[in-house]
Each structure stands twice: as C-alpha cells, then as structure tokens.
Symmetry: C2
Subunit: 185 residues, 2 copies
C-alpha cells in the first residue's frame, strides 16, 4: 500500500501546500511537531525548505542529526496534528510525544527519523547546511533522499483523493483550523 | 469589497499553501507569472519565501525593482493562471502578457507591481537581498509591506469560502492540474 516515489516526482507531494509533520531523532531521542511552512525548492535533485522555530526540541534533534522527515498527515489525523503542534517534546522528559499520544511509526529508508503511520506521504530529508538562513530566518534547506506515498491517494506522480475523503491532505488556516484538500478543478 | 489586512495577519493568507501569481514592474515594463512555491517565513515583520527561476522575465524585473506582488488567484481564474504559467513575457516584446490575455490590474499601495483584478488576496513584497540564496537556489526572501483581501472570503484574520466556490483559492498538483481549497475540518 505504501510505495516508493521516484525522486524526480518528490516535489509533487508538496506542490499543493499541505500542512506537514516533522519528525527527527538523534542519539536515542526522537520528536515530532507540526509545520505549515514547508515548501518545494527544486526538482533535481529534489529540495525543500522548511521553517523550524529555534526554540523547538525537534530542531535540536534535526540539527544534531543532519536529517529529518516530512510526513503528510490527512483528515483523519487532525486531532493528532493539533496535539503534536500544541506541545513540546521537552514536556515529556521520561517518555516522548509518540508514547504520550500513542503515535505509531515505522522505519525510514535513508535516515534515522521515525515515519508516522497512517500519514499519506513521507519525504526523507538531509539538511544542506546554510547557517545564515538557519540562524537568521529559522529556514532550513534540505535535499529529499527518499520519498514514499500511500498509493490509494498518490500514484503515477499524481494525487487523487476521490473516494478517500478521510485520506485528503490538510491545509492550516490559523489557530488550529484546517481545510481539506478539495476537488480537482 | 477589497480590505487592507493588518500586517500581523498577512501570513495567514499563505498558511494553507495556495498557488500564487507573481507580478513585477520596472522602468515601464511589467510581467506576470504563476508560482506554486511561495511560503510564509515569519510573522513579525511578516516575511515570505518564493522560488523564481533565473530564466524568467519576472525575475529580471523584480530584481531590478526590488519589489514584487504575490496575488492569490481563485477557481474562476484557472485558465488565466495556466496562460501566464505557460508563456514568457519575452514572447511579447511589443505588448505584454496583461494586454495579450486581457488581464486587468489595479495599483498597489506601496510598490510598483500591478495587482491582478479578481484575485482574492494580494501581498505587496520588498525583497530582502540574499544574493547567495537567489543565485544558488532561485530563492527569494521578502518582507510583506502591505496586504489586502476580498472580504467575501477573508475577514477577521480567517479564510471562509462557504457559499463562494468560484472564489476558492487553488493548489497546484502537477502539469496544470489544480485542487480547490476544500472544506473546513
């Protein structure tokens, strides 16, 4: 059901501007946060930008490890997205957000970050170090080194959500309110 | 019908990842292109990123002028978005894409770029020069210096498209196919 996506098609997962979940791990620690400000940057090799606040625990892990994952959550995961977006991994020193919120994961192919189960696509990313951007703008540039998607809603390089309303990607408006990705037009 | 948006709410126009139209003008020349890779970067002052290929005429104008506009087109403008996305301003040396495609505009408040009529929101942007990003990644960082929206679909800091299906913003998938922004969830 989960298929690898050719790297030449990886940016198509992000073209439509969905809300994302960022995961990272380093030295046995892992974390997860919501991020609306992720965007495609280049096709070949595929690159992305993502804005990650300097105060977040996820950023500490991703900067230490040099890699992170972009997970694309869907309509049925909105409550989980709100939970991981409104809490800090530092709140749970003895466990972590995955354990606290019962979030299941599976192993990535090229990086250490856990991939979130029941999301509809995943981009495994390696940071291209750009200290000025990171320090001045909280802006990270990364190369996509592997990509995967749920073939029920993404195949042959295209999203197709018809008949799978609960698997539609989501778009943050503000204040924890989201739109579902709508009709093709 | 078009209302100014407080700068503190400007990033909310882009949070949900809509496809954009970029306009720019310099020394009596103007141009317009489609851009799916625009993203919010910061709240205060509001900043955005946008990826603009080095071969485009719009980039030549925006780099010369130091400013550009992000226009948010809606469902009823999809044919126009495809036209401006699939042609170059350099194809029309005696006129321009606005004249060729009958695209009406109105004046911006703080910058020279024309704003596209019948779009549903507009962000007037001033480039923060970052030569390394521009040359290496085609990536521009800009501060939003004014913002406006059609109050039928954006007011009190929120998008609300119910009852206005033809005014829904759009999201590029690939190959000139788009999704409309969908239901609140």
């Amino acid at each position: 059901m989960i298929k690898s996506i050719p790297l030449s098609q990886a940016t198509r997962l992000l073209n439509h501007g969905p809300t994302t979940i960022i995961t990272a791990s380093h030295a046995g620690k892992r974390n997860i946060m919501a991020a609306a400000w992720a965007c495609a940057l280049d096709f070949k090799p595929p690159k992305v930008t993502v804005v990650i606040d300097s105060k977040t625990y996820t950023r500490e892990l991703m900067e230490a490890e040099g890699t992170f994952a972009i997970n694309l959550p869907c309509v049925k995961q909105i409550e989980m997205v709100k939970k991981v977006g409104n809490s800090s991994g530092r709140d749970f020193p003895d466990t972590d957000k995955f354990a606290e919120y019962g979030i299941e994961t599976f192993a990535a192919q090229e990086i250490s970050a856990p991939l979130v189960k029941d999301c509809v696509a995943w981009l495994e990313c390696r940071i291209i170090p750009e200290p000025h951007n990171q320090q001045t703008y909280d802006l990270f540039i990364a190369e996509v080194v592997a990509a995967h998607a749920d073939e029920r809603v993404f195949s042959d390089g295209r999203w197709h959500f018809e008949g799978h309303d609960d698997l539609r990607t989501i778009h943050h408006i503000a204040g924890g309110v989201f739109f579902a990705t709508g009709q093709e037009c």
